[in-house]
């Protein structure tokens, strides 16, 4: 009798790519729900639209590349890209923008580089940046938090606006949109207002912008759960948020009139989402433990620099993409010391 002789190990743990990706997706749900609670149906529409586009594009690309469609379509990676991009886009963005951004992310940032595991840049951020550069007006037109707005669009009204650009009679676009806290900060600072005057505005809420602080807290909870589940390591989030906090604290300490507080930086815009869900993307980030710390510091410092002195209000996408480029070099120089090689 000749028996089966595969090589060891004969055991495999429970982890699979699908499980990893789905956990990331689950961890995004609390933030997503609070986001849509505070900003309306536009958030959900974005996410669903992006998901459908991502899965369709993924299937198409897999077919074209003659790869097993079912195996890769169910790995969840396209879904995570779609969720991240959908959450990064302004709610109530026109449908074609979501579609173009997502398709671009999947086709150009992912599959043209070789698909899952081979993309040097975070696909969601590539899609986001492409849209930001191509459609700056649409990309910076953010709806007001429902708490500060008199206009609340219903689901059908939201759909009508997203797909047809039609607002209900009597509602003007101006009534619907409002600058984000980061945007407002940038504009007001350029008008030489002091931080105290600026943050007195209701959109700034209690710590980092009305509504935004709650969204970020929800994302923080999801991120901590991922850490607890060992899907992400502490290195990137800690390094990114730590460096962002330290550098903003330093400037805040020197000149509080013109620089926002560390808390504002941590809990506004995409800082938390970026730290736990975007900069931790294993494929495009650094992979050694020490390398991840440098990677996180890089993202944190660049985020602060671009927010404070750059041309765009938020900067997580640019920082992540810039650090993606540095990841292979970081990995090369941060190899851990091997057991028995000059340790104890």
């Amino acid at each position: 009798m000749l028996l089966n002789t595969p090589s060891s190990p004969h055991f495999h743990g429970p982890s699979t790519v699908t499980k990893v990706m789905l956990r990331v997706a689950y961890a995004l749900i609390p933030g997503m729900l609070i986001y849509s609670w505070l900003f309306g149906w536009g958030v959900i529409i974005n996410v669903l639209l992006a998901s459908v586009t991502a899965l369709a594009t993924e299937a198409l690309m897999l077919r074209l590349r003659q790869r097993p469609v079912k195996m890769f379509l169910t790995d969840g990676s396209a879904l995570v890209t779609a969720l991240l991009l959908g959450l990064a886009l302004p709610p109530l963005a026109p449908w074609w923008m979501v579609l173009i951004g997502t398709a671009f992310a999947i086709i150009f940032a992912k599959h043209l580089y070789g698909g899952l595991g081979f993309n040097p840049f975070n696909p969601a951020m590539v899609g986001y940046v492409m849209l930001l550069i191509s459609f700056p007006r649409e990309m910076t037109s953010w709806p007001a938090p429902l708490s500060l707005s008199e206009v609340h669009l219903t689901l059908s009204q939201s759909l009508a606006y997203v797909f047809g650009g039609n607002l209900p009679a009597g509602i003007k676009l101006d009534a619907l949109t409002m600058a984000t806290p980061l945007d407002a900060l940038r504009t007001e600072l350029s008008l030489n207002k002091t931080m105290e005057e600026i943050t007195a505005s209701p959109i700034f809420g209690s710590i980092a912008g009305s509504g935004w602080e709650w969204i970020n807290i929800a994302f923080l909870a999801g991120g901590l759960w991922l850490m607890y589940k060992n899907i992400i390591s502490w290195h990137v989030p800690a390094a990114m948020l730590g460096s962002l906090a330290l550098i903003s604290l330093a400037f805040y300490f020197i000149e509080p009139a013109t620089y926002a507080s560390p808390l504002f930086h941590l809990f506004s815009g995409g800082a938390i989402l970026g730290a736990f869900f975007i900069a931790t993307d294993p494929v495009s980030g650094a992979t050694t433990p020490r390398g991840r710390i440098y990677f996180g510091i890089g993202v944190g410092v660049l985020t602060y620099a671009i927010r404070s002195w750059g041309g765009y209000p938020d900067a997580v996408a640019f920082s992540v993409l810039l650090m993606n480029m540095a990841a292979p070099t970081i990995d090369h120089y941060t190899r851990p010391q091997v057991f028995g090689h000059g340790g104890k």
Partner: protein, 568 residues
């Protein structure tokens, strides 16, 4: 006193599955009709047979002697007749055959005369003790099978700690656990002998905390001894020597180095018991405890098995194999290897036979691309970068793989175990290692060939140069010294004449000649003088010819012949 423990980085917690085989006590295996004893059951040189086909052997009789330093003897594991010394399948991942001594047992299982040595071990010099252990065929019973006597040689180092390894971190295996539960006094007795040979300052016995019964049993027999039984938290691959040393002492054995260099020696608990049997009872190593387990057998258990017993014979004793057996693994599921046949014999390194069904092992599933998550690096007990090593192996960048310390990999399988993409990482490292080895062999061969070629080339050149020099010298000599030769000839002739003349001065038979006789003599003299004249003129002609044509062709030919001989 609670000992401070340390951590090695990484490690995994695979499901243990140990309980199924620990429900029953250790039983002796029934005797098989035929035993197949491979000559190579250990690390090192194969043993050399010292019996012949047809010989009757007794249990414990040495049938093959250790050859070389790293080697171990083989003993008959039961009494019977040697029926063959030939190639048979042996437990090896290659599935290849190797030389074995085959014994048809006579069911008497009769021991050769043996007994405790007259001198107690405490009065024996360490070298004699080691020699006894060597001739008893004892090798590391933890799985690697390194000849134990070598590891009992302090080699000039001061041994601080002797560690007895009862960790047994691989899932399913329970032979050490059962040994510690049932025969702790043998382990302690062996440990004393080892300590004596090594002159170790302290002895630690490490047991994972998933074996509380074994721990209790050893603590019990250690009462009053200065041995320390240490319970370590369960973590795979803690049973690996270097990782265990780190946990117990916080010391790292240097890469490529041996524990003895940092004053530590680690032996398996089973080896300690075997040494006790050899030294205190005079019994060489002829059997071991083997765990037969997995859902593929009806009654998992631990058996005391004579070496050479076919695995099928043991599986039959455990209720036989179920039909849905997927693979038979020798060793554990993390590092053991699957065997192609159940006819393969149990050897000194067979700690477990795992008859695994599809539920016991992870069936092969789709391999996804690496998502660079780094889970592999998090669990690597050697702190390598498994992911990068895998890229280098795939790309055949073997130089870079070595730069990333490929050869420090212990193939424990943790990286493959946690990989979400299900990449057979260890497979890649084995592939890379084998490729590097074969490249090195090729390179060595090429180097030798090149050296030989270069040497031949230089020798031919040297010979040609020497020949040219010799010829030039001769030519010069012939040109310059033509006259010298003639002078030498003249001188020789003069000497001969003088000699003749001197002879003539003595009384001769020509002194008292008659007239007619004198005339005859004169005539002859004249004729001789004439002949001499002719000869001389001829010689002068020949000499003139010789100076015209310099060099000595005959000599040159013989030189050529000599050169040819040398070449061949």
């Amino acid at each position: 006193m609670i000992r401070q423990l340390f951590n090695f980085k990484g490690g995994v917690h695979p499901p243990q599955h140990k309980h199924s085989s620990t429900a029953q006590p250790i039983r002796p295996a029934t005797l098989a009709k035929q035993l197949v004893l491979p000559l190579h059951q250990h690390i090192g040189e194969s043993a050399v047979p010292i019996v012949e086909v047809g010989d009757h052997v007794l249990k414990g009789q040495k049938i093959a002697r250790a050859e070389g330093y790293v080697s171990a003897s083989v003993h008959a594991s039961s009494s019977g007749t040697v029926v063959a010394i030939e190639e048979r399948p042996i437990p090896h991942p290659s599935g290849l055959n190797a030389q074995c001594i085959v014994i048809d047992t006579d069911a008497e299982d009769r021991w050769i005369e043996h007994g405790a040595p007259v001198t107690p071990y405490t009065e024996m010099p360490a070298s004699q003790l080691r020699n006894l252990i060597r001739t008893s065929g004892i090798v590391g019973l933890g799985g690697a099978g390194f000849p134990s006597y070598i590891k009992l040689n302090p080699a000039g180092c001061q041994i601080d700690t002797l560690i007895l390894n009862g960790v047994e971190c691989e899932p399913y295996i329970s032979c050490d656990d059962m040994l510690m539960r049932e025969r702790p006094e043998q382990i302690i007795a062996g440990a004393k002998i080892m300590r004596h040979a090594l002159q170790a300052k302290q002895v630690l016995i490490a047991i994972e905390d998933n074996k509380p019964e074994a721990y209790a049993a050893l603590v019990d027999v250690c009462a009053g001894e200065d041995f320390e039984v240490v319970q370590v938290p369960t973590l795979y691959p803690q049973g690996s020597e270097k990782q265990l040393i780190k946990v117990l002492t916080d010391k790292e054995v240097p890469s490529n180095g041996l524990p003895v260099q940092i004053g530590i020696v680690v032996h398996n608990v089973g080896t300690a018991a075997a040494i006790h049997n050899a030294i205190d009872l005079g019994k060489p190593l002829t059997s071991r405890i083997v765990t037969i387990t997995g859902d593929g057998v009806a009654e998992p258990c631990n058996l005391e098995v004579p070496f050479g017993t076919p695995m099928q014979h043991l599986l039959d004793q455990c209720g036989g194999l179920r039909n849905d057996v997927d693979r038979i693994i020798m060793g554990g599921p993390m590092m053991g290897f699957a065997m192609h046949s159940t006819a393969i014999p149990v050897v000194k390194t067979t700690n477990c036979i795992l008859a695994a069904t599809k539920d016991n092992v992870t069936p092969p599933s789709d391999v996804m691309p690496c998502i660079r998550c780094g889970a592999c690096a998090d669990v690597c007990p050697v702190e390598l970068l498994p992911q990068q090593l895998q890229w280098f192996a795939r790309a055949k960048e073997f130089d870079r793989a070595q730069e990333y310390n490929l050869f420090d990999c212990i193939e424990c399988g943790c990286c493959s175990y946690v990989c979400p993409s299900n990449i057979p990482l260890v497979h890649f490292y084995r592939y890379a290692k084998t490729e590097i080895w074969s490249q090195e062999r090729e390179k060595e061969k090429a180097d030798q060939a090149r050296q030989r070629h270069e040497f031949r080339q230089s020798r031919i050149e040297r010979e040609a140069a020497e020949k040219a020099a010799r010829l030039a010298k001769k030519k010069a000599a012939a040109q310059a010294g033509g006259g010298d030769k003639q002078a030498a000839i003249q001188a020789a002739m003069a000497r001969a004449k003088a000699k003749k003349h001197a002879q003539g001065s003595g009384p001769k038979n020509t002194d008292n000649l008659t007239e007619s006789q004198q005339q005859q003599v004169n005539k002859a003299d004249e004729m001789r003088a004439k002949a001499q004249q002719i000869a001389e003129s001829r010689r002068a002609q020949a000499q003139a010819a010789m100076t015209d044509k310099p060099g000595n062709t005959a000599k040159s030919d013989s030189d050529n012949q000599a050169a040819k001989d040398e070449k061949e």
